[in-house]
Symmetry: C2
Subunit: 361 residues, 2 copies
Amino acid sequence: MPVIDPWEFKEVKDYKELMEEFGIDDFSQYAKKLKGAPLEIKRKLVIGHKDFSKVYDCIGKKQEFAVLTGLMPSGVFHLGHMAVINQVIYYQKLGAKVYLLVADLEAQLTRGISQEEAKRIAIEEYLTNYIALGLKNKSLVFYFQTKGPKKVQEYMNLSKLASAKTTFNEVKTIYGEITPQKLISALTQTADILYPQLEGIKTTLTPVGFDQHPHASFTRDIAFRMGFSLPSFTFNKLLPGLQGINTKMSSSKPESYIALTDSEKTVSNKIKKYAFSGGKSTLEEHRKKGGNPDIDISYQYLKFFEEDDKKLEKIYNDYKSGKLLSGELKEIAIEKINKFLKEHQKKREKAKKLVSKFVLK
Amino acid sequence: MPVIDPWEFKEVKDYKELMEEFGIDDFSQYAKKLKGAPLEIKRKLVIGHKDFSKVYDCIGKKQEFAVLTGLMPSGVFHLGHMAVINQVIYYQKLGAKVYLLVADLEAQLTRGISQEEAKRIAIEEYLTNYIALGLKNKSLVFYFQTKGPKKVQEYMNLSKLASAKTTFNEVKTIYGEITPQKLISALTQTADILYPQLEGIKTTLTPVGFDQHPHASFTRDIAFRMGFSLPSFTFNKLLPGLQGINTKMSSSKPESYIALTDSEKTVSNKIKKYAFSGGKSTLEEHRKKGGNPDIDISYQYLKFFEEDDKKLEKIYNDYKSGKLLSGELKEIAIEKINKFLKEHQKKREKAKKLVSKFVLK
C-alpha cells in the first residue's frame, strides 16, 4: 500500500488508483444529489468519501450532525484552502454544527510557530476569510488545540488514551517514517475528530484534502477500537499550483499560489507569467491542433469561479478546438478570479468587524 | 549502556555498577548531613542522586523548593512503597511544597484501570496511608493526571510540546522497546516532573526507586532542551521481596510483600514461611559459622524499623557470629514490624476522617 506523508505531501498523479488502494468510495452520486453545493463539489474536486451516507441521511432527515475542520495557522490563505472551508460553510447552511479548531499545537510542534503568532494568523488571516466566505457564528464551536473545547479535560485525555489503541507497526504502515512529535500530532488530530462525540453528536463529517487521508484512516481505526462511531470523511483533490497540474500550491512559494489578499495586478501578473498553459507553442499550431484544458491551470482554476455550466463548457470546447487562445483563456481566468477577489475583499473588511464575536464567545 | 524497563522492572544485582554507568552520584555525604532523616536515608536505601546539591542549598537557605511524587493506583500499599513517601514527608517537614499526583492516566494506559477505580484506590489505599505516615495538608498540591493541576492547560500541553524535543532513537536508547502508550506515559511523567516550574518553583526533587531511572534521565534531557531548570532526583534501592535479596515486592504476589494492612498473624506467617534466611541449614553449622545478615530478608527489613543503631549493630553481629538464630531474628523482625503496623493502623483510622480535606481542597 502506498504511504502518504500528510506533513510533507508533494503530489498525486493518479487519484483513482489511490482511491482504490485506500478503499475510498467515489463521491459522484452525492455530488449530483447535493443541492446548492459549492463548485468544489459540483465540479468534482471532491472525489471520494468514507461513510458519507450517514451524513447524507442526517441531512435528509434533518438530524443532528457535526462538520469539523482544523486550520493550520501558517502562511497566507490561498485558493488551495478554499475547497474545505467552502464545504464546511455549505454543510453549516444545511444544519450542521461546525467545530472549527486552530491547530496551534500542531503548528508549534511541526513548524515552530509560537502560540501567540498562531493565534494572530488564525484570526487575522484565516477566520476573517472564513467569515467573508460565509461562515456563520451560529452552531459554531471555535477552539484552539492548546486551550481545548468545552470538555477540555476529556479532550486532552482523549489523545492520550488513544495511544493505547495503536502500535508503532500500525503507525509506520499508515504514516511511513514518524517522529514522536508527529505521533502526538496524529493523536491530537484523532482527539479533534472524535471530540464532537463526547458532546453527544454521533455523526460527524471531516472534509479533507487527499493528503490528509492517513489521519482519516488512523482516526477511524482508533475510533472503532475505542467504541466510538466511525467518523465520516470527504476527500478532495488538491487545487494545483500555478506551475502545473501535478504541482502544489505552497504557502512558502508565492509564485505557486493566488492568495485571497493578492491585488488585481498581482493576480494578473502571476497568471500571465506562471500559470502553466495547455496551449500549443505557436499560434498556427494552436489554431490547428487546439489546446488541452485538462492540463491548463487557468482552465483548472476557472472551473471553481465560473458558475455557469454552459459558459464553462463552451470555453472548454473552444480551447480544445483551437478557437480560444492561451492568452485569451488566461484573460478570462484573470477577470473571473479578480471579480471574485474584489467582492471577497469587500466582505473581508466587513468580516474584520465581526471576528471578535467569533473568538470571544 | 544497560537499559532498564521502568514498566517491567525485575531486579538489580549491582547498584554501584549501574550508578557508574548512568552517571548517578553517591548519596552518602547527604545521608550523613541530613538531620532527622528517615531510616531509608540513614540506612542507605537511598544511594544515589542527580543534582541534590540544589535541593540541599534550598534547605540550608530556607529557599522555596518542591518535592514531587506520583502514586500508581494499583494493588495494595506495601512496605516497598514506603521509601519514597517517607522521604517526601521528611522534605515536607523541611519546608518543601509537595506535589502529589495520582498516575491515573498511566494506570489506565498501562494497566487498564478505570479512572473511577484509580480514584478509589488512590484515596482509600494510598492517600490514607500517606496521611497516617505523616503527610500534611499544608503546602500540598494533590492532583490526578486526567484532571490536571491548577494550570491545567499548560500542564496538558507540556507533555505534548515535550514530544518535539526527543527522537525515537533516544527513546529506544533510554527505554528499550517502547509502544505508543509507553511514549505517552513517559511524556506525561515528564510534564508531571516539570510542572512545578510552571508555578514558578525552580528547584524540584523527585525521589524515585532505581527502576524509575529512565524517566529521570529522559526528563532531564527534555528539561534542558525546553529551557527548564534541570530537576533533581534521588534514587533508592528497591526493598527486596520476601523471597530474597534479588527479588521484588510485587503487588500481584501476596507472598512477596508485607502490606500495611496485613494483620499481625499474616505478618508472622509470611515472615516465618517466606522470608529468605541468611542462616545456615543446621543449628550446629549456624552456631559454628554464623549467618549472613546481608542476604537475610528479616534483617534487611529490620534496618527500616529498628531506630536504635546500637541495637541493630548488635543484631547484625550476633547473627553473623551465630549467636542469634534465624528463627530468633525472624521473631525480632516480626515484633518490630507488627509494632509499627499496629500504630500505623490506628493512625490509618484517624487518617480516614482527614482524607476528604486533602481531596476536596
